[in-house]
C-alpha cells in the first residue's frame, strides 16, 4: 500500500488554520527553515488512508487475541468516553492545585485502590509503562539501601524465566544482574537461591505467577531467604490478572510492586502504548517515591515535595488518561468483580489448555494460572513445523497468535493467555483450529509453512530489513 507521502499532491493544501488576528511576527531570515515535507492531502484522503491502514490491523474487537503475558482483554468503550471528558482532557497539569481537585482526587483514589489490591502502603503513578515502573521500583530499592548506609548491595537476582525488561531495567538502575535457575515447572531452585543471596543482594525480581503461567508455590520461602539476607522483594505485576482480588503481593512478602494498567486494568494497548506502570511500595520505601506526591490535607489535595525522593522519571504525573480508564474499571468491577475476573481468566486458560491437549501432548498435571506455555518441539522434531509456523497458520483461522519463543527456557514456546473476557465458543474454536493445524503439519507440513495466505502480505523478509535498514520513506 502507498504511504501517506506517496499519496500527497503538491496542489493540495491541508486543513486551513486560522490566520492571526494580530500582526504577523517576522523572524530574522537566518532563523527560518526552507521547505517542510509533510503529507499534503484533503481531509477525506487522510480519513481514507488511515481507515485503510486500520483494516490492515487486528484489535481485540476483531477476534481472539491470546497473546501471552499481554493480557489482551476487552477494553470497555465507556472508558474512552470518560478519559476524553473536557474536565480531564482539557486540563493543564500545572494548574494551581485548588482548581484541579478532581484530577488529584482521582489519582489519590486510584492509588488507594491499588494499595488495597496489592497490599502496598503507597503508590506513584508517574511511570508510563511496566518497564518504566521497574526502573523506578529498583531506584526506590537502591535509595532505601543507600539511606541505611548499605552501599554494598549492588546485585539484583532475576530468574531465567523473567521478562527481558527485568534484567534491562536492573542495568539501567545501575545494578549487576545475577541469574537464578528455575526447575522444569518454572519454580525457583531454593538451594541455588540460598547460595546466591548475600550482603551484595539488593533485591530479587519475581513475576508471580511466573512466565510459565504457574504460581510460585515457594514464594513465602523465597521472600524469607531474600529478606534474611537483607535484600528486598520486587514484584513484576505483568501477570497480576491471575490473582488480582485473590491474593496480594504484599502478603506474599513483596516490598515493591509495579502494575501494568494496560494489562490487568483493561486500558487499551494502543498498538504498543501508552500504558501506565504505577509503582507501589511498603512503608519503609515511601520517602523515596518521586515528587510531587499528592497529600490529602484539611484544605483539600495538595502537592508535596519530599526531600529524599529517588528522582523524577518523567514529566508531570504519568499517563493520566490511562489512570482514568483504570479507575473506571476498578469501580465498575469492585472487589468481587476483580476476583471473579481473575478466576475466570484462570478457568479460561485451564479450559483452553485442556481442550488443546486433546490434539497435542501438553502437560496438564498441574493447574495453570491465567496463561500457559506449550512447547512445539515435538511437532518440530516430527514434522519440521515450528512454533512460528503454527502462529502464522492461526492467523489464517482468524486468531491472533499467542506469544512465541518466550519464555526463553522453553524450546519452541507458545504462550497462550485467553483472559476472562473471551467466550467459551472462542476458546473451543481456537482449540479446534490448533488441532487442525497440528494434523495438517503431519499431513502436509509445506501447507503450514506457506501460512498466512489470507493476509495482505505473506511472511516478510525480516533479515533483509535488518541488514539494509530502510527506516524512513
Amino acid at each position: 500500500m502507498k504511504t501517506v507521502f506517496e499519496k500527497s499532491s503538491a496542489e493540495i493544501k491541508g486543513m486551513e488554520m486560522p490566520a492571526p488576528q494580530v500582526e504577523k511576527h517576522i523572524f530574522a531570515e537566518g532563523l527560518l527553515r526552507d521547505g517542510l515535507r509533510l503529507p499534503e492531502l484533503s481531509e477525506q484522503e487522510v480519513a481514507r488512508h488511515y481507515t485503510a491502514l486500520s483494516k490492515r490491523a487486528f484489535g481485540v474487537d476483531d477476534g481472539f487475541y491470546p497473546l501471552g503475558s499481554c493480557t489482551m482483554k476487552y477494553n470497555p468503550k465507556l472508558h474512552e468516553k470518560l478519559a476524553a471528558l473536557a474536565g480531564f482532557a482539557d486540563v493543564h497539569p500545572l494548574t494551581r492545585a485548588d482548581k484541579i481537585q478532581g484530577s488529584l482526587a482521582l489519582i489519590d483514589t486510584l492509588n488507594s485502590y491499588l494499595c488495597g489490591i496489592t497490599g502496598m502502603d503507597a503508590f506513584t503513578t508517574q511511570p508510563c509503562a511496566g518497564a518504566h515502573g521497574e526502573f523506578l521500583g529498583l531506584l526506590l530499592i537502591k535509595a532505601y539501601h543507600a539511606s541505611r548506609g548499605d552501599g554494598a548491595r549492588t546485585k539484583v537476582i532475576i530468574p531465567d524465566s523473567a521478562h527481558g525488561t527485568n534484567p534491562a531495567s536492573a542495568v539501567m538502575a545501575g545494578f549487576e544482574v545475577v541469574h537464578a535457575g528455575t526447575d522444569a515447572s518454572g519454580d525457583i531452585d531454593l538451594d541455588a537461591l540460598r547460595a546466591l543471596v548475600g550482603a551484595d543482594t539488593a533485591a530479587l525480581m519475581l513475576t508471580n505467577p511466573s512466565t510459565l503461567g504457574l504460581f510460585e508455590k515457594n514464594v513465602l520461602k523465597i521472600a524469607e531467604i531474600v529478606h534474611d539476607a537483607g535484600g528486598l522483594m520486587y514484584y513484576d505485576g505483568a501477570n497480576l490478572n491471575a490473582v488480582a482480588g485473590v491474593v496480594r503481593p504484599g502478603d506474599m512478602g513483596f516490598d515493591v510492586v509495579h502494575l501494568n494498567l494496560h494489562k490487568t486494568f483493561s486500558a487499551p494497548h494502543g498498538g504498543g502504548g501508552p500504558g501506565a506502570g504505577p509503582v507501589g511500595c511498603k512503608k519503609a520505601l515511601v520517602p523515596f517515591l518521586p515528587n510531587p506526591r499528592i497529600a490529602d490535607t484539611d484544605e483539600g489535595f495538595r502537592f508535596n515535595y519530599g526531600k529524599r525522593s529517588a528522582g523524577r522519571v518523567s514529566a508531570f504525573y504519568g499517563n493520566f488518561g490511562v489512570l482514568v480508564k483504570a479507575l473506571a474499571y476498578i469501580v465498575t468491577l469492585g472487589g468481587e468483580g476483580i476476583a471473579q475476573a481473575s478466576e475466570t481468566a484462570v478457568l479460561n486458560a485451564n479450559y483452553l489448555r485442556e481442550k488443546m491437549s486433546l490434539h497435542y501432548p501438553i502437560d496438564t498435571s498441574r493447574p495453570c494460572m491465567h496463561e500457559f506455555v506449550v512447547s512445539m518441539k515435538k511437532l518440530k522434531d516430527d514434522t519440521g513445523v515450528t512454533a512460528n509456523d503454527v502462529a502464522k497458520a492461526l492467523i489464517d483461522r482468524g486468531i491472533h497468535p499467542p506469544t512465541i519463543y518466550f519464555p526463553l527456557i522453553v524450546e519452541e514456546a507458545m504462550m497462550f493467555e485467553p483472559t476472562e473476557t473471551e467466550t467459551k465458543e472462542g476458546l473451543d474454536r481456537a482449540a479446534e483450529a490448533f488441532g487442525e493445524i497440528v494434523r495438517l503439519a503431519y499431513a502436509d507440513p509445506a501447507a503450514v509453512k506457506r501460512a498466512p495466505v489470507t493476509t495482505p502480505i505473506g511472511r516478510p523478509d525480516e533479515a533483509a530489513a535488518a541488514r539494509h535498514p530502510v527506516l524512513v520513506g
Binding site: G102, A168, G272, S314, R459
Partner: protein, 430 residues
C-alpha cells in the same frame, strides 16, 4: 459489574466438568493456604451508569478555562475532530505491539510514516517509534552518547522536569551530571568535557537559542549535542540537524494531543544515522514478502530488551504508539502549510501579548527572539495577576517567582483574550 465477562453460569459448569474440578478455586491450589485466607477488601461493583456518574464527578471538580496562557511543557492547541475520529478506531486502539507483521501492516506502516514525519521535522536521518515523553526521550538520548567521560551536561534553562529526569537516568548509571549556565536566559557555549550536552531551543523561557554556537563548542570538546525542541516550532525554524545537533528530541503533545493533565503524550527521538543501532525502543523498517510485496516490520530488534536482556540499549518495551499515531494523523491533516500557519499564529499572538504586557508595565525579562513563550517582570505581583485572571476564566502563565511569569500563546487564544490579560496585568500593577 460482570458486564465484561462473557461466560454464562451453564458454560462455567461445563468447563469445570471438562477440567474435572468442582469449583474454580481448586485451580488455585498452588497458592499457599495462609495467603488465600487473607481477604482483599475493595468496594462493591457498580453498573456502567454508576461508574460514569462517579468518574464524571471527578472531572467536574477540575476547572476548564475558556482560554489558556499556560505552557511550560504542555500546550492547548486546536485539535481537528477528524483526529479523534480516526485514531479512535478500535483496530488502532486495542491492538498490541505489532509482533505479527502480516496482520499488523496498518500499524507498522503508520509507525513508518510517523518516523518519516519526525525526521522531516527535525532534519535527522532516523527516528524510533516513540518514547514515553519529551523528558524520557531527552534522558535516553543522552545515554545513547555515553563514552569515556561518563558525564552529561544539561543547561539550567531547560524544562526543569526534563532536567530532573535526565539527572535521574544518569545518576542511576553512575554518570555525572553537570548543570551548565545560561546568561540572559540563553545557553553559554560549554567547552568542558562531556559525552553529551542537552539544550533546548526554544528553551524553557521560549527563547530561540544559537544552537550552532553550542554545537561547535561541544564538538570541539569531543561531545555530542542533544537538542530538545517543540515540534510545532519546527514548522518555522531551521532544523536541529542543520544547526549541528547530533540527536533531536522533544515532546509530541503539541501535535494534536489534548493536555490531559500531562499525559499520555509521547517523546520523539531522532538522530544522525550513526546512532541508528543505539536508539531505544521500537523501530519500523521497510522490506518485502516472498512475492515482492512491500512490507513493514519491527526491525533492528537486536538492540532490544526481549532479545538482549541486560545488554539491551534500553529497557523500554511499551512505548506511546497510539499517541505517536495521533500526531501522524494531525500532521497529515495539517500539511506543511497548516502546521506553518499554527506556528505563525502562535508566534504572532505571543509577540502581540508581549508588547501589550510591556505597555501595561510588565516588560520581557530576556532579550532576543522567542517563539510562543516569554517571561515578563511583574514586580512581585505574580500571584495576584494569576488570581485576577482566574476570575475571568483565564488560566494565566506559570508563576516562576513572585516577580516572574512565563506566558504562552497558542493559536487558540483570541485578540480579545490577550487584550483582557494585558488590561488585567496593567490594573494589578497600577
Amino acid at each position: 459489574m460482570s458486564d465484561y465477562i462473557s461466560l454464562t453460569d451453564k458454560e462455567r459448569e461445563e468447563m469445570l466438568s471438562v477440567l474435572g474440578v468442582g469449583s474454580v478455586r481448586e485451580l488455585f491450589a498452588d497458592i499457599p493456604a495462609e495467603l488465600g485466607r487473607l481477604k482483599v477488601r475493595l468496594s462493591q461493583g457498580r453498573t456502567q451508569k454508576e461508574t460514569e456518574e462517579l468518574v464524571s464527578s471527578f472531572a467536574a471538580r477540575n476547572k476548564v478555562y475558556k482560554s489558556v496562557f499556560l505552557g511550560a511543557g504542555c500546550y492547548r492547541h486546536y485539535i481537528p475532530a477528524a483526529v479523534g475520529a480516526i485514531v479512535g478506531r478500535e483496530e488502532f486502539l486495542t491492538a498490541y505491539t505489532p509482533y505479527q507483521p502480516e496482520i499488523s501492516q496498518g500499524i507498522l506502516q503508520a509507525m513508518f510514516e510517523y518516523q518519516t514525519m519526525m525526521c522531516s521535522l527535525t532534519g535527522m536521518d532516523v527516528s524510533n517509534a516513540s518514547h514515553y515523553s519529551g523528558a524520557t526521550a531527552a534522558a535516553e538520548a543522552c545515554l545513547m552518547c555515553l563514552g569515556k567521560t561518563r558525564t552529561i551536561g544539561v543547561y539550567d534553562n531547560v524544562n526543569p522536569d526534563t532536567l530532573e529526569t535526565v539527572a535521574t537516568y544518569a545518576r542511576a548509571r553512575g554518570v555525572k551530571v553537570v548543570v551548565l549556565p545560561s546568561s540572559g536566559g540563553k545557553a553559554v557555549p560549554y567547552e568542558g568535557e562531556a559525552d553529551a550536552v542537552y539544550m533546548e531551543s526554544p528553551n524553557y523561557f521560549g527563547l530561540v537559542e544559537d544552537v550552532t554556537a553550542v554545537a561547535d563548542a561541544v564538538h570541539i570538546a569531543g561531545g555530542k549535542l542533544v537538542v530538545g525542541c517543540n515540534p510545532v516550532s519546527l514548522a518555522l525554524f531551521r532544523t536541529p540537524a542543520e544547526l549541528g545537533a547530533d540527536i533531536a528530541v522533544g515532546d509530541g503533545q503539541p501535535l494534536g494531543l489534548p493536555m490531559s493533565f500531562g499525559g499520555p503524550s509521547f517523546g520523539f527521538i531522532t538522530a544522525k544515522k550513526e546512532f541508528t543501532r543505539k536508539l531505544p525502543g521500537r523501530i519500523v523498517g521497510e522490506t518485502a514478502d516472498a512475492e515482492g510485496r512491500r512490507a513493514f516490520v519491527l526491525t533492528l530488534q537486536a538492540r532490544e530488551q526481549h532479545i538482549r536482556r541486560e545488554k539491551a540499549s534500553s529497557n523500554i518495551c511499551s512505548n506511546q504508539a497510539h499517541a505517536a499515531l495521533t500526531a501522524s494523523v494531525y500532521l497529515s491533516l495539517m500539511g506543511s502549510a497548516g502546521l506553518r500557519a499554527v506556528a505563525e499564529t502562535c508566534a504572532a499572538n505571543a509577540h502581540y501579548l508581549a508588547d501589550k504586557l510591556s505597555e501595561a508595565g510588565a516588560p520581557r525579562v530576556h532579550k532576543g527572539e522567542f517563539f510562543h513563550e516569554f517571561v515578563t517582570d511583574v514586580k512581585g505581583k505574580a500571584a495576584e495577576i494569576v488570581c485576577a485572571l482566574d476570575r475571568q476564566d483565564i488560566l494565566g502563565g506559570l508563576v516562576l517567582s513572585p516577580d516572574r511569569i512565563l506566558w504562552c500563546c497558542t493559536e487558540t487564544v483570541s485578540k480579545s483574550d490577550m487584550d483582557k490579560v494585558a488590561e488585567t496585568v496593567g490594573r494589578v500593577l497600577k
